[in-house]
């Protein structure tokens, strides 16, 4: 379908609008980089990244290294850590902290509106990471937040890429968060490199496959 969101340099089938994917794996095996690259669409699309544990400047650098060209009118970072930084080529919106889920959700809606008003209709949303939210709030509260955000993404025909490090949580927590997402990608490291395995993505193999994310 022509409306699908594509992933140019990744071995991933395109995603139907409204899909939220949970990317799981530890940061050092490249799961976070995979997530950043999934957020990096063509110039006609916008992207909103909720950064819970890295300052806007740091995550903007990581994002740029994944091959994304940050431009203020189509990239926004909701920064739950630092103060507003002016040298980042994106709209940077401060949130009081990763425990202020109400503030994060409302800022998100507000930024999304500015995109729509600027004519950016297709938006990819990143949440990096659910793990940080869980270390500041209980599972029930984070569940409501993740459910509400994935519902919002579905309502506006965007896509969501939420990252969680399963090593930081027990199985029930990861499984509960997974249930709010329509698809899941697990990432692992092997002797030869990195592999991903997808669930819930039509047209995508359910086997482990090699992938390589650009980090330069």
């Amino acid at each position: 379908m022509s409306d699908d969101y594509e992933f140019a340099r990744l071995p991933l089938a395109s995603l139907r609008p409204g899909t939220t994917v949970l990317v799981t794996g530890s940061a050092h095996v490249g799961a976070r980089n995979l997530g950043l690259q999934m957020l990096s669409g063509p110039p006609s699309e916008g992207a909103i990244l909720i950064s819970t544990n890295h300052r806007a400047g740091r995550i903007a650098d990581d994002w740029a290294r994944s091959g994304f060209e940050l431009v203020e009118d189509r990239a926004a970072i909701l920064d739950c850590v630092g103060d507003e930084e002016t040298d980042v080529p994106a709209q940077v919106m401060p949130v009081s902290g990763p425990s202020d889920l109400t503030g994060i959700g409302m800022r998100y809606s507000d930024v999304y509106r500015t995109f729509t008003e600027a004519g950016v209709e297709r938006v990819r949303t990143g949440l990096f990471s659910v793990s940080t939210l869980l270390s500041f709030g209980d599972l029930k509260t984070v569940s409501r937040f993740v459910h509400t955000l994935s519902g919002r993404i579905d309502a506006v025909d965007g896509i969501g890429v939420f990252y969680i490090d399963p090593g930081m949580h027990d199985d029930q927590t990861v499984s509960t968060v997974t249930q709010f997402c329509s698809a899941r990608i697990d990432v692992r490291e092997t002797e030869t490199g990195q592999e991903l395995r997808a669930r819930g993505i039509p047209g995508q193999s359910r086997e482990w496959i090699d992938f390589d994310v650009r980090t330069e």
């Binding site: 599972l139 029930k140 409501r144 709010f180």
Partner: protein
């Protein structure tokens, strides 16, 4: 029901008309105190649409009350107040939607409310894939617990003895709460869905076992389970012939414990037996309905 709260009477009227025209049942109020009076009347709320500055308090204070009253309610701040002037930090765990109120436009609000209610996307727990059909299926089984009591009571007595457990229960999960058709060794009042173990159990076609409730992040802070002295939980889903899980057959213990494969099989059988009782009762009452016509 949707509660619409806005001190600006003209703006409120516009919002109420837009929501009512879309087919929603709408109540309205002009202040925090008036909105609290509506809540005190007891009717369950599906959605709150509120301004931020209510004169005698804020929309977020009200949203917090609404969640205490109707935990699944979608809350939407529909406001002219800039986000920079909204104190979200104090209400960080609330989680609500935000729509800027700009002039007479109600389109964005309406789209958001319709989606939030159709998909119930502000619940604090995951929903089965086909929740709408599940709740619809439930209607034909929602019979009077008193009428069913005896047959299910026998099963909960048997289960308690069979598994050497402290209690057993048969619960039905409707859109927002769990009601118990039979309890043995424990007395449960209806519980909000976000507080029950069974809310998670109906997502699984197999028997669910929580060996130690205190060690499970989904239930570790659950006051209702704690008050009832529940440490161990196991349940089999009650699945209709159309494959909808409408409730559970549960057993409880006051100590953490393991649950063998054979125990799982036996609990499944008890679940199937309870479901069969419910199915038979629904057929009998459907036939009775025909006779009356």
């Amino acid at each position: 029901m949707i509660l619409c709260v806005d001190p600006d009477a003209a703006a409120r009227e516009r919002t109420v008309v837009a929501l009512a025209d879309a087919g929603f049942d709408v109540e309205h109020a002009g202040s925090l105190a008036d909105a609290r009076d509506v809540l005190a009347d007891g009717a369950s709320l599906d959605c709150l649409v509120t301004e931020y500055d209510l004169g005698d308090g804020t929309g977020l204070e009200l949203a917090e009350d609404v969640r205490g009253h109707s935990p699944d309610a979608a809350c939407v701040l529909f406001t002219t107040t800039s986000l920079d002037d909204v104190d979200t930090g104090t209400f960080g765990a609330l989680v609500a939607e935000y729509v800027a109120k700009q002039g007479e436009d109600r389109g964005e609000l309406l789209g958001l409310v319709e989606h939030a209610l159709a998909f119930r996307s502000q619940t604090a727990y995951p929903l089965p894939d086909d929740e709408g059909a599940r709740v619809a299926a439930l209607e034909q089984y929602a019979t009077d617990p008193a009428e069913l009591g005896e047959s299910l009571d026998r099963l909960t007595v048997i289960a308690t003895e069979l598994f050497d457990a402290t209690a057993a229960a048969v619960g039905i999960i409707d859109a927002h709460s769990q009601e118990f058709l039979s309890c043995h060794g424990i007395a449960f009042e209806p519980m909000a869905r976000e507080d029950t173990t069974c809310t998670y159990a109906i997502l699984d076609a197999d028997v669910t076992v929580v060996e130690d409730v205190w060690e499970d992040p989904r239930f570790a802070d659950n006051e209702a389970l704690d008050a009832a002295g529940v440490r161990f939980y196991a349940s089999a889903p009650l699945v209709t012939p159309d494959d909808q899980a409408i409730g559970t057959f549960c057993i409880y213990d006051d100590e953490p414990r393991a649950f063998a494969d054979r125990d799982r099989e036996l609990l499944s059988m008890l679940g199937e037996e309870a479901m069969q009782q419910l199915t038979l009762r629904s057929r009998v009452s459907a036939d009775g309905g025909d006779d009356d016509e």
